[in-house]
Structure formats: structure tokens, C-alpha cells
């Protein structure tokens, strides 16, 4: 039996794609984790840096930098913004070399000992792998988008062994909405990736299982206080990353390799003080979660400040690596310090490990802005159900406060700094609330279907419009664009316009939202939509283009100001 005959329908193809994405993501996670652990152990970047370790680390980081610049473009940073952008702007398309490129560059960066995590890269590798699977199975654009979204979920599920949090993260951060069309594939791939990952790596929680209890109700006030502090720290962290990026932009634009070398040297220097600051810091987090914090607050504060600087310098290099795990490390330290201070103040029932866990959640929320993901993830990572209420309180408090301080997550802030506007839920809401009638052009240059091309070519040339509705007896019969008019004039000037016109008109009603208008233009790859009456789809009311929408939003903002 031929392979093609087996996978002749799209349902079979989708089922095969889901299997390949789920198992593939789990396998990638295993390979990345094992190779980084083994190679880091061999070259010594998981302990105090020696001179030879520093040199090898610099070589790894520079190789990653140059691969990102010249061979595997678009593999810089965590990769999550690239996945979001590909889903919104490129119909789920991702570069075909991305799975390999992101794997190699992330492997090199993670081995260098810089403060990066593997979860962001895993999301990207798996999403790009999903695109590749969809490409080889020749699936359409809509299915590709669903599968790329599922790939992103599978990546996170495999990286942390947190299938539920991965689904929540996709809904909250990647998609920005609950879309039932996506739910089945993302749940399936998430489960498959998790199962594959734990079969290969062992079924254990990312962090050690905890058994803290929530028994003193008034401590909720302390959790709120922790949320407030972590919001401020999260804001500072994002601002510092942008500050270091600006330094890199202003002083190291042509010599960015020097900036990378300095980041590695700083890491090497601080490893002499305490090697716990290296890499993602899982072991240190585990120790903090068990309440084995140092009793010297000052020692922990110094460790916190060092990690803060290392995260900023590492992330601003633009090398391939994630920020999840380093932020969790910083949050655990911050929460631990907070708990220790409360203990020293003589407050009863303070468990430092529990505060470390709550600190992780709050800081993750303050930086990434995904409150539901944060508490579900930390619950799954530690498997401590007793603390779910404090986790919810501190993460919602951190979210509420941090959104009041600044509306952007670290991904959005960094992307904005780099000139990319990532789509947000607010954008969708804004476009959904406005109707086509608000910004359509009501005075439209129309062409008569019975005119000869030679008679209208001059008026077409004199306008800036790129497309024209074609009417016969005041009824819309089609549309024609400038290039088609000019082409018809070149070929056959005596031709009547209706012979050169496209008769399948994609139109929109005046009461439909701008989001629907943009979606139609994107889906059908057209630059304008005739606006017609619901009572008579031949009655032209106006014309709308993306420029009209942009101009309208610009004017709205000015009047709002």
C-alpha cells in the first residue's frame, strides 16, 4: 500500500501530524536537556569558571551569536515573540531551518553558562517542527496555524513536564483567547509531548514535590505584599533589560561580539563568588523551595542582585535562550528573602520555602504577564495542592499591580524596542469594537463596466487608488485593480472594462467590525474591500482599505489625547 493512499484525507493527516508533533517535541526536549547537561559537565560551565572554561564558554556563545546572525536568522532571543508573530502575521509559516537552527543555537548558549532557560527555545523548536510537519503533509494554512499553536504548547509541556500549564500558556499568551477549534490538538500534543518527555527523562516534577500547608488566613496580606514587591522587581528587570539593550545598541552595534564576551566574563567573575548563579539554577531553586535558605539575608540579597544583573546582561545579548527559568530563580530568591525577613521580624508560621514558591509565581507574572499559567505551572511543578490558594492570590495581585505600573510584558517591551509591535488582546478588542462604517471611504472612484479601457486609463493613472469597483447601472458587478487596467490597455485598449473585470467580489457589510475587515483582507490576500448593503449586495456603500483603518485609528488616538 502506498503511503499517500494511507494519508489521503486531512483527518488522517492531522492525526499523524499531532502524533509527530507530540513525540517530536518530547524527543527534542530530551535531547536538548541531556546534551546541555552532559556538555556543560564536560566543559565545566556548571561550576566555578576556570580560565579554560571561560575561553570555551566564550567560544560557545560567539558561535551561537554568529550562527544566529548569518546562518539561522530569527533564532535570537527566547523565540516566543517569533511564534506569536508567525501565527498572526505569517499564517503560521516559520523558517524551515528553524527547528535545527534554534536547537543548535540554544544548545550552544545554554552550554555557555549564561543565564538562560530552555523553555522559550523549546516552544519555538516545537512550533517550527509543527510547521515543518504540516508542510510535508501538505496541510492548508488554517490547519498549519492550529498545528503550530499545538507545537508551541507541546514544547512547553515537554520542557517543564507541565501539560496543563502549557495549554493554559498557549491560550493566555500565544493565542490570547480561548478558541475551541484549537483546544483538541493543543491538549493532545501537550499530553503526548509530556508523556514522551517523562518516558525519556523520568516522570518527576521539575522541582521537588512540596508539602506546605496554608493554615494561617491572615498571611494572605503578606502574600499580597509579596505580589507588590515582585511587581516592582519585575518592572525593574524589564527596564534594565531594555537599558542594557540600549547600551549594546549605542556602543556595541558593530562589535556585538565584545558585548557577548563581556557578558560571559561577568558570568565567569560572579561564578567565583557563587556558582549557583550559573545557568537556569534548578538545584538552587530546589534548595530554596525546601526552605534551605541561607540564614544570612545579606548573602541572599547579594546573590539576588548578581542574578538580576546576569539575567539582564544575558538576555540583552540577543542570544538564543529563554527567560522563564532565570526569572523563576530570581523569584525564588526574592520570595526567600522576603520570608526570611518576616521570620526575623518574629512573625509566627512563616515557611521560607513556601514564600520562595510564591515569589517565583509572582515574579513570573510580573515579567511574562500570564497569571493563570504561572500558578497552574508552579502547582504542576511542585505538585503541592495545599498552596494553590496563596499561589492564586499572589499571582493575581502581581498581575494587577504590574499591569498598573506598565502595560507590557517583557516580550512586548523587548519587541517594541526592536521595532516590532506584537499583537495584544487590547488590539483585537479595539478593532472588534469599531465598525467598518466608521472608517470606510464613502466617496469612491468607480468605473463603468461598459466603458472602453482606453477611455478610463487616464483617470486611473491620475489617481493614487490601487483598486476600483466596477458598476453597471449603479450595481456593483466586480472589482479591478490598477495593474489590471494598465495591462488591459497595453494588450487590448479597445476592450470593454467588463471583459477585464473579476466578477467574484469579496465584500463586507458596514456594520461588521474592523477586525473582520482585516481578517478578510488577510485571508483573501486583497488590499481593499467594497462595502455593500445587507439588503442588496450589489449596492456599493463605500470602500475600505488597511490604510483607512490605520488612518482612522491614528485620528482616534489624537482625538483621544
Amino acid at each position: 500500500m502506498k503511503w499517500n493512499s494511507v494519508i489521503k484525507t486531512s483527518q488522517y493527516k492531522v492525526a499523524i501530524a499531532i502524533l509527530l508533533i507530540g513525540f517530536g517535541s518530547g524527543l527534542f526536549s530530551f535531547l536538548l536537556h541531556e546534551s546541555v547537561v552532559k556538555v556543560s559537565g564536560i566543559i565545566g560551565t556548571d561550576k566555578v569558571f576556570s580560565l579554560s572554561t571561560t575561553i570555551v564558554s566564550i567560544l560557545f556563545a560567539l558561535t551561537s551569536l554568529y550562527l544566529t546572525k548569518f546562518l539561522f536568522k530569527d533564532t535570537n532571543g527566547s523565540g516566543i515573540p517569533q511564534v506569536k508573530l508567525s501565527l498572526v502575521a505569517y499564517k503560521g509559516r516559520m523558517p524551515k531551518r528553524m527547528p535545527l537552527g534554534k536547537f543548535v543555537t540554544s544548545f550552544l548558549t545554554l552550554c555557555s553558562g549564561l543565564s538562560f532557560g530552555k523553555e522559550g527555545p523549546m516552544v519555538t523548536i516545537s512550533a517550527a517542527w509543527a510547521h515543518l510537519v504540516s508542510f510535508f503533509l501538505n496541510l492548508n494554512r488554517q490547519l498549519t496555524k492550529v498545528l503550530v499553536t499545538s507545537g508551541a504548547t507541546a514544547g512547553l509541556a515537554a520542557a517543564f513536564n507541565t501539560p496543563i500549564a502549557a495549554v493554559v500558556f498557549t491560550i493566555e499568551e500565544v493565542l490570547g483567547q480561548l478558541n475551541t477549534k484549537y483546544l483538541g490538538p493543543i491538549v493532545l500534543t501537550s499530553v503526548l509531548a509530556s508523556v514522551t518527555s517523562y518516558k525519556l527523562l523520568g516522570n518527576h516534577a521539575t522541582f521537588i514535590p512540596l508539602h506546605y500547608k496554608f493554615h494561617i488566613e491572615w498571611h494572605l496580606i503578606l502574600y499580597l505584599g509579596l505580589g507588590l514587591i515582585m511587581s516592582a522587581i519585575g518592572y525593574s528587570l524589564v527596564k534594565m533589560i531594555i537599558f542594557f539593550k540600549r547600551i549594546k545598541q549605542n556602543y556595541f552595534l558593530k562589535i556585538d561580539f565584545v558585548f557577548v564576551i563581556l557578558a560571559v566574563l561577568l558570568t565567569a567573575l560572579f561564578s567565583l563568588y557563587n556558582p549557583q548563579v550559573l545557568g537556569d539554577g534548578v538545584e538552587t531553586i530546589n534548595s530554596l523551595l525546601q526552605g534551605h535558605a541561607s540564614h544570612f539575608v545579606m548573602g541572599m540579597v547579594i546573590l539576588f542582585l548578581i542574578k538580576f544583573v546576569l539575567i539582564c546582561t544575558s538576555y540583552s545579548t540577543g542570544l538564543s535562550g529563554g527567560i522563564f527559568m532565570p526569572v523563576l530563580f530570581l523569584g525564588a530568591l526574592g520570595g526567600g528573602i522576603y520570608g526570611l525577613c518576616l521570620q526575623k521580624l518574629g512573625i509566627n508560621g512563616i515557611e521560607v520555602g513556601a514564600f520562595a514558591l510564591l515569589g517565583m509565581t509572582s515574579l513570573l507574572v510580573a515579567v511574562i504577564r500570564t497569571p493563570f499559567t504561572a500558578f497552574v505551572m508552579l502547582f504542576e511543578m511542585t505538585r503541592d495542592y495545599e498552596l494553590i490558594l496563596p499561589l492564586m492570590i499572589s499571582s493575581i495581585a502581581a498581575y494587577w499591580i504590574s499591569t498598573r505600573i506598565s502595560s507590557e510584558s517583557v516580550y512586548e517591551s523587548v519587541a517594541e524596542y526592536e521595532g516590532v509591535h506584537l499583537p495584544t488582546q487590547a488590539d483585537n478588542e479595539c478593532l472588534n469594537d469599531m465598525v467598518v462604517e466608521d472608517c470606510m471611504a464613502k466617496e469612491v472612484l468607480t468605473l463603468d463596466a461598459d466603458s472602453y479601457v482606453k477611455d478610463i486609463v487616464d483617470s486611473v493613472r491620475q489617481t493614487d487608488f490601487s483598486g476600483f469597483p466596477v458598476l453597471r447601472n449603479k450595481k456593483l458587478i466586480g472589482v479591478i485593480n490598477r495593474a489590471e487596467v494598465l495591462e488591459a490597455f497595453e494588450d487590448e485598449p479597445e476592450k470593454k472594462l467588463h471583459d477585464a473585470t473579476k466578477y467574484s467580489v469579496i465584500s463586507i457589510y458596514p456594520d461588521q467590525s474592523l477586525l473582520v475587515a482585516l481578517d478578510k483582507m488577510k485571508r483573501f490576500e486583497i488590499g481593499r474591500l467594497p462595502v455593500v448593503s445587507r439588503f442588496n449586495d450589489k449596492q456599493l456603500l463605500g470602500l475600505i482599505t488597511p490604510e483607512d483603518i490605520v488612518n482612522h485609528l491614528g485620528l482616534s488616538r489624537q482625538s483621544g489625547d
Partner: protein, 113 residues
């Protein structure tokens, strides 16, 4: 319960007058401006699409887009109209249908915050 009737005619009121309605206050409006002063109030807006044409759909979309929407939107038309993606909570195909479905509309109104 306030019921706004957006129409150029009287057909909707004629249909509703055949029902025994207590605690209902009908307000006939002919322009969007007349609705603005009541937009924060919980109410039902019945739009005679036959008489106001596309504007009825546009008005429904604008009201549905407001974050503080407290108005149940009912559209009525006897004409051949593409009903896809309209923002009406109820979309009726004849004026007499309003009598038959009024209980259902009131139930939905009661469920609103």
C-alpha cells in the same frame, strides 16, 4: 422595564400592544442621539430594520461593541437580508414573531446583569 423601539413606523408597537405587558415602558426613538442619554440603563432595543435599513445593523454593532453594554438587541426584518455576523441578540423574520418570542426575550433580559 424600558423598551426602546427604533423605527420609522408603528408596526412593532402594534404587535406589542396585543400582549398584556405590565411594568413595561415603550419609548419610540428615531435617531441614535435619542438613545445616548439612556445608554447606561438596562433596557431592550427593538430595531425595525425594514425602515432604518443598514443603519439598524450599524447601530446594533456600535452598541454591542461598548464594554458597558446593558441593552438587549432585537432586530426585525421581513426583507431578504444576509443575517451572518450581526450583533443582534435576537434576529426575527417577521413582526408577528415578536409576540411569540417576547417571553424568551424577557427571560434573556432578566439574565442580564
Amino acid at each position: 422595564m424600558k423598551i426602546f423601539v427604533f423605527s420609522q413606523g408603528q408596526q412593532i408597537e402594534q404587535q406589542l400592544s396585543q400582549l398584556e405587558l405590565d411594568n413595561c415602558r415603550f419609548i419610540h426613538v428615531t435617531s441614535e442621539d435619542e438613545l445616548i442619554e439612556h445608554e447606561a440603563e438596562k433596557s431592550i432595543l427593538i430595531v425595525d430594520i425594514d425602515s432604518v435599513k443598514d443603519y439598524g445593523f450599524i447601530l446594533a454593532s456600535k452598541i454591542a461593541g461598548r464594554s458597558d453594554k446593558r441593552c438587549l438587541l432585537v432586530g426585525i426584518t421581513t426583507m431578504d437580508v444576509d443575517p451572518r455576523d450581526t450583533k443582534f441578540d435576537f434576529f426575527l423574520g417577521s413582526f408577528s414573531e415578536i409576540k411569540d418570542r417576547f417571553k424568551e426575550i424577557v427571560c434573556r433580559y432578566d439574565e442580564m446583569e
